[in-house]
């Protein structure tokens, strides 16, 4: 079979792969947002900036120290996590319990500062960042073109998402997190160090964003505003999945990437807005999102 609904198979499969590849970033980022929102009740507007930070740290460490991609994939997200620890302890901590607007404004402000600094230091032009040598090839399977790096990103993102899901849904640490999401003061009164849990959760969400940033660096341009372009779509993904739903964030991330990819085949003009159109429809029929619990 070389065609499906009049569309050549290689075109279709190429867009499916591209859709899943974009979906991998949506999933990693919306997962972090959902975890942070679930526990901290903070809408983390700095998420796109943390993603960009991951890419820039990888770029710089690659330039200065010549670290290989595999090392950058570990070191850069950890450094983003360290930054997030400081940010949570110095700033975010003070807005807990206040109107959610404060958290939103604070993280938005931090995002502007981070992006402004990146722009000041590196200008607006994108920085080149090459793929790891080992993954630069392409395979052909049954007429399908499979760029190795894209397949790698999809698989790694999927494993990371499922691992995070298992950590939250299946371990005692995850049970602390879920319980604290329901009733933070009580979990604390039972003897769990909730302030540390909050810091760790924010850092973990940021680490996921930084990780996505490093994986995006070879494909998207490394630039100060690479995150702010992406994060708008990711917020739509989170809204569609349902705020605070872990599985929902992962599933809707990949699904919406896929929808976008397929729209490019069927009606390319709509590809840029399809996510927002879906968001509008979902909000109309299910205001709490596809996987969210009705309030």
């Amino acid at each position: 079979m070389t065609e499906l609904f009049g569309i050549p198979m290689p075109v279709l499969s190429g867009q499916i792969l591209l859709g899943l590849f974009n979906g991998a970033f949506y999933a990693l980022l919306s997962l972090g947002l959902a975890v942070i929102f679930g526990l901290l009740r903070v809408i983390n507007f700095a998420h796109g900036a943390l993603y960009m930070m991951g890419a820039f740290i990888a770029f710089l460490l690659g330039q200065w120290l010549g670290l290989p991609f595999w090392a950058l994939l570990v070191v850069a997200p950890v450094l983003v996590g360290v930054f997030a620890v400081a940010m949570e302890k110095l700033l975010l901590r003070h807005v807990y319990g206040l109107d959610p607007l404060y958290g939103l404004l604070l993280t938005f402000g931090v995002a502007l500062v981070i992006e402004g600094m990146a722009q000041y230091m590196f200008g607006v032009a994108g920085k080149p960042f090459s793929q790891p040598q080992a993954l630069s090839g392409v395979s052909m399977i049954g007429g399908m073109i499979l760029p190795h790096y894209r397949v790698f990103v999809i698989v790694v993102a999927l494993i990371t998402c499922l691992g995070t899901w298992a950590l939250i849904e299946r371990t005692r640490l995850g049970a602390f997190l879920r319980a604290a999401t329901e009733n933070r003061p009580l979990v604390e009164a039972f003897g769990v160090n909730v302030p540390v849990l909050l810091t760790a959760t924010y850092a973990f969400g940021a680490l996921l964003a930084g990780f996505a940033g490093v994986m995006g660096a070879p494909v998207f341009q490394v630039s100060a505003f690479m995150g702010s372009n992406l994060i708008i779509i990711v917020f739509a993904v989170v809204v569609i999945g349902g705020m605070g739903s872990i599985g929902g964030a992962i599933a809707s991330g990949f699904l919406l990437g896929l929808c976008e990819g397929l729209t490019k085949v069927v009606y390319p003009e709509a590809a840029n807005i399809v996510v927002f159109a879906i968001m509008a429809v979902v909000l109309f029929f299910r205001p709490s999102g596809l996987f969210g619990k009705a309030a």
């Binding site: 879920r178 319980a179 329901e182 009164a189 039972f190």
Partner: protein
């Protein structure tokens, strides 16, 4: 034997701006069951919440096992030996029964084993994989008690453990508490159900408008019958 395990002195407490505890003073000695009795809104729950550092602001002194807990971070208070069973049960609805049971960190040596807990509460064993939010009111109360017994507390703070429950379950809870008492557990019991409290308690405190207005032991019960009737409306 007579050193108080819980000693609350001149405790004041606030929710935001509203001052609800106006100098509560009470104590519980090791092995004692103490009942705190008062009308709706008198400050019973607030007193227990203050002991767990769950009130907005507190002043005065709360000593548990000789350690001052005012000024202690909230997540450290339980380790002085407190097991808290809140009025609203505080079950984590999205967690399974078993996860609720295993969630709380151990705070003492003599925690009840899970096997023993399931022996006492066969319902919880049967429903251990169910979301705790699907339990009946009685089962949630059992779970709220079971999970703190697992942690090995020296002092139980029980806020209306029989509220809204069917008579058979009230009876079951009564015999469990009697057993715990016989084993030497110290308990501070808040109860509206005075008939339930009088069977368990060694001493009684009356609380009105955030103040302790009377206290007496079992022998003094008759003499204070009018005061008690006035406060609990029997």
């Amino acid at each position: 034997m007579t050193e108080p395990i819980l000693q609350i002195e001149n405790l004041h407490g606030w929710y935001d701006e509203s001052h609800v505890l106006h100098g509560v003073t009470l104590e519980a000695r090791r092995g004692e069951t103490v009942a705190l009795i008062g009308r709706n809104g008198a400050g019973k729950t607030s007193t227990l919440r203050a002991a767990m550092n769950l009130l907005g602001r507190r002043e005065g002194s709360i000593r548990v096992n000789g350690r001052e807990t005012i000024g202690m971070p909230r997540h450290k208070v339980a380790y002085t030996g407190l097991g808290y069973v809140p009025e609203e049960r505080g079950i984590f609805a999205s967690l399974s029964v078993q996860e609720n049971l295993m969630l709380l960190p151990s705070i003492g040596e003599n925690g009840m084993s899970v096997a023993r807990i399931y022996e006492i509460f066969p319902n919880l064993r049967e429903r251990r994989r169910a979301a705790a939010g699907t339990l009946s009111g009685g089962e949630q109360q059992m779970l709220a008690m079971a999970r703190v017994l697992r942690t090995g507390p020296q002092l139980l703070l029980l806020d209306e453990p029989t509220e809204g429950l069917a008579p058979v379950i009230v009876k079951a809870i009564g015999s469990l508490l009697a057993q715990l008492k016989a084993d030497g557990m110290t308990m501070l019991l808040v109860e509206q159900n005075f008939h339930f409290a009088r069977r368990l308690a060694d001493r009684f405190y009356l609380i009105e408008n955030g103040r302790i207005t009377d206290h007496f032991d079992r022998e003094g019960l008759e003499a204070h019958a009018d005061r008690v009737a006035d406060v609990v409306g029997v």
